[in-house]
């Protein structure tokens, strides 16, 4: 290879081809799929809470994409049904995640709806689960001598409670909890919702073979 221009053109053409297949065509297909019926836009508080979720980097330990029962027992853990592309129609930035250092949160609002629980857990996760390695977020709360009329007081076991006064939630903490409480994708998914059905297809193909083997015995 001796010439620069052909090298540059072919290299960029290959990248364009990859972009077409990995971004543009899927983008068109996902856009055509639209919003999942039953999905509600975020409320103002939820949207603010989502911004807190993004800025704290919750994404790096929590996924938002339960897997198919053909692949993994996510449903049995209470994480909800397998999600489809339409479930994320209002999400930017997307927070699908790639790690489960902590559990999946796609349906955390279903599994743990209590505001009290969420606030205590955010203030000090080990007050609820002694095995947890989740960060504590005390900077989303304020230590006060006495709670004001509109303050939301965090319920804490004696070991984690301050010696005097109370811990009250800041607006950021309340918004974050609103977002988590709103994470409920319990409506029925569209029948043809877009998702990776590779595992289900492998299962479906193997099932008749296993049945045939049983019949042969």
């Amino acid at each position: 290879m001796n010439r620069y221009l052909p090298l540059a053109i072919v290299s960029l053409a290959i990248l364009a081809f990859a972009t077409l297949l990995l971004v543009i065509v899927p983008g068109m297909q996902i856009a055509a799929d639209g919003v999942a019926p039953g999905l509600k836009p975020y409320t103002a508080a939820e949207a603010r809470g989502r911004a807190v979720y993004v800025s704290m980097g919750c994404l790096y330990c929590h996924s938002q994409q339960p897997r198919d029962e053909a692949q993994a027992p996510d449903g049995e853990r209470g994480w909800g049904r397998a999600s489809v592309a339409g479930d994320y129609a209002y999400d930017a930035p997307h927070q699908l995640g790639t790690m489960r250092t902590g559990p999946d949160l796609m349906n955390i609002g279903d599994r743990l709806p209590s505001q009290d629980w969420q606030l205590t857990h955010l203030y000090q996760p080990r007050a609820i689960s002694n095995w947890s390695i989740m960060p504590a977020y005390p900077f989303l709360f304020t230590h006060k001598d006495k709670a004001g009329p509109t303050d939301v007081v965090v319920k804490l076991p004696p070991a984690y409670a301050p010696k005097t006064g109370v811990i009250v939630a800041n607006q950021d903490a309340l918004d974050l909890v609103s977002y988590l409480q709103g994470m409920k994708h319990d409506y029925a998914p569209p029948g043809d919702g877009l998702r990776d059905n590779g595992y289900a297809q492998i299962d479906a193909r193997q099932m008749p073979q296993t049945d045939a083997a049983k019949a042969a015995q």
Partner: protein, 524 residues
């Protein structure tokens, strides 16, 4: 959704196109339809009568006069990039280590939002990818390109300007992340407003390379040049498309996210590492690479297959089935370019094992080249549905990422720095024994790091797949392995500090070799 005939056709088409392109290339080489690079081309990096570039620190190195003029043109910008790169290496390592410790002792640093795990980890990634490996890789590019083109670097001031802009933007980006201002996508956290400055910085790196390429005095472009020249075009395109605000939404944004993130590895860091190894391995040994024609197949196969593997990060997720399958197929096809590179680089080293003893830089680069082969094989296997279902969402992935970005790319770049700096500055490293310590600290540290996360990750994945075990099991069983990761990371960080100590000490020593070179030039 079932694979519809249209999409199935598209999937097949992509694969067939890649395969046909590759077959056509092999046919063309076999039938001499194109000028296949031959062993004479492979020797184009040597001057007539030139042997191994091993400088025993006690013996002054004699530069070829033409060469010394060339190296002089690039040494300034190269040293700027190396200096800044090593700064970000230390900064990023400390953040990585701190983030790792936070998982061991979760209440250690919970006092401030800036130090929470989600931000420390993100500062770590952006520092080491865009601060360390990108800049150290660019240093290698600006060192090697003028040498293989036998012409001085053009627009060197622009490289320095680019370095300045790039680092200021990076400081702003990292400060933004630490304070909670983020675009919120993995690998794309730096706010797009700041990304504009990064893109301008990147343009300042691309222009001098094109100018130098156009001014080259050799007919043939050596293999490292293919990788470098393609990579410096790929990265800006990826970076700009991925950061356009308001364009990406929902799940489309997720596919774009992994198209980008995996291509930063595949079409940016990998070409930097492979290209650098392709230059220094034969250069240090003093013999051309084993089979030059194979390297051509390796390059185009990398471009064709690596560019389409990204969606294997979303296996089992809410993305179209055909798209996931496409990325899995191409992940497996990555065996082709990886084996091509492996044949060339490993056989060349294996035939000259003596050189590993003689040259510390080669030892780093050889270890990096080996890690590239292993990381790529592991990555291909990891993309299989049966394997991925266990390893996805676990620390196994983190171990794999570090095998690629650290044990491969960073080790090659450490070697490149140790090889380049004495030749660019005309000074020896004041503490040559620390180079050996650096090597063993990072190799042992990385081994502990990698095996902790790999074993821990598999156990974590198996626990999560078992419905009878509570989720808590997957966390508690992981704890000792996360502690192992901190230990390994600590040793690696210590190694990096030794590199920094040597570089800083070198800056304060007197020039020893340059004087002689200048005398030589003057005498001619």
């Amino acid at each position: 959704m079932q694979i519809t005939p249209t999409l199935g056709l598209l999937l097949t088409l992509s694969f067939v196109v890649s395969l046909l392109a590759l077959s056509a290339l092999i046919w063309a080489i076999a039938n001499k339809q194109v000028h296949a690079p031959d062993q004479d081309d492979a020797r184009s990096i040597f001057q007539p009568g030139e042997g191994a570039e091993i400088a025993p620190p006690t013996q002054p190195h004699h530069f070829d006069t033409e060469r010394s003029g060339i190296d002089k043109s690039s040494s300034g910008p190269v040293m700027w990039l190396i200096g800044m790169g090593v700064f970000w290496l230390i900064y990023g390592s400390i953040h990585g280590l701190a983030a790792s410790l936070e998982l061991n002792l979760p209440d250690l640093m919970s006092g401030s939002a800036q130090m929470t795990f989600g931000r420390m980890r993100t500062v770590h990634l952006n520092s080491v990818i865009f601060g360390w490996s990108s800049q150290a890789g660019l240093a290698a590019i600006f060192w090697i390109i003028p040498r293989i083109f036998h012409t001085p670097l053009r627009l060197g001031w622009m490289v320095k300007l680019g370095t300045l802009i790039w680092n200021l933007a990076l400081v702003a980006g990292v400060a933004a992340i630490a304070n909670g201002w983020t675009d919120g996508l993995e690998w794309l956290e730096i706010p797009w407003q700041i990304d504009i400055a990064l893109a301008i910085g990147a343009a300042c790196f691309v222009a001098p390379l094109i100018a130098t390429t156009r001014a080259r005095t050799v007919h043939h472009i050596y293999v490292s040049g293919w990788y470098f020249l393609a990579a410096v075009l790929w990265f800006p395109v990826l970076f700009v498309i991925a950061n356009i605000p308001g364009l990406h939404w929902g799940v489309e944004q997720a596919t774009m996210n992994w198209w980008f993130a995996h291509n930063v590895l595949g079409l940016w860091l990998t070409p930097l590492g492979v290209g650098t190894a392709y230059y220094f391995i034969p250069k240090i040994i003093g013999k051309p690479i084993y089979s030059y024609a194979v390297s051509l197949v390796g390059f185009w196969a990398l471009a064709l297959f690596y560019s389409q593997v990204g969606i294997h990060h979303l296996i089992g997720g809410p993305v179209p089935t055909w798209l996931v399958t496409l990325s899995i197929v191409h992940s497996i096809m990555m065996f082709v370019p990886v084996i091509a590179v492996a044949i060339n680089q490993h056989v060349t080293v294996a035939r000259n094992m003596w050189a590993l003893k003689a040259s510390m830089p080669l030892r780093f680069i050889w270890f990096g080249a080996l890690s590239y082969t292993i990381a790529s094989f592991q990555g291909s296997i990891e993309a299989l549905r049966s394997v991925n279902t266990i390893t996805h969402f676990t620390q196994y992935t983190i171990g794999h990422a570090h095998l690629g970005a650290y044990a491969f790319v960073s080790l090659v770049l450490f070697g490149a720095i140790y090889q380049i700096v004495p030749r660019a500055t005309g000074k020896y490293f004041p503490f040559p024994r620390l180079i050996g310590w650096h090597f063993w600290l990072v190799v042992v540290g990385f081994a502990i790091y990698f095996f902790s996360l790999t074993i821990g990750g598999v156990l974590q994945g198996l626990a999560m797949m078992d419905a009878t075990r509570p989720f808590a099991d997957s966390v508690t069983l992981l704890k000792p392995y996360l502690e192992g990761r901190s230990l390994g990371g600590g040793l690696m960080t210590l190694g990096h500090i030794l590199l920094a100590v040597n570089l800083i000490a070198l800056a304060f020593t007197k020039r020893t070799r340059d004087l002689e070179t200048e005398t030589m030039v003057a005498a001619q």
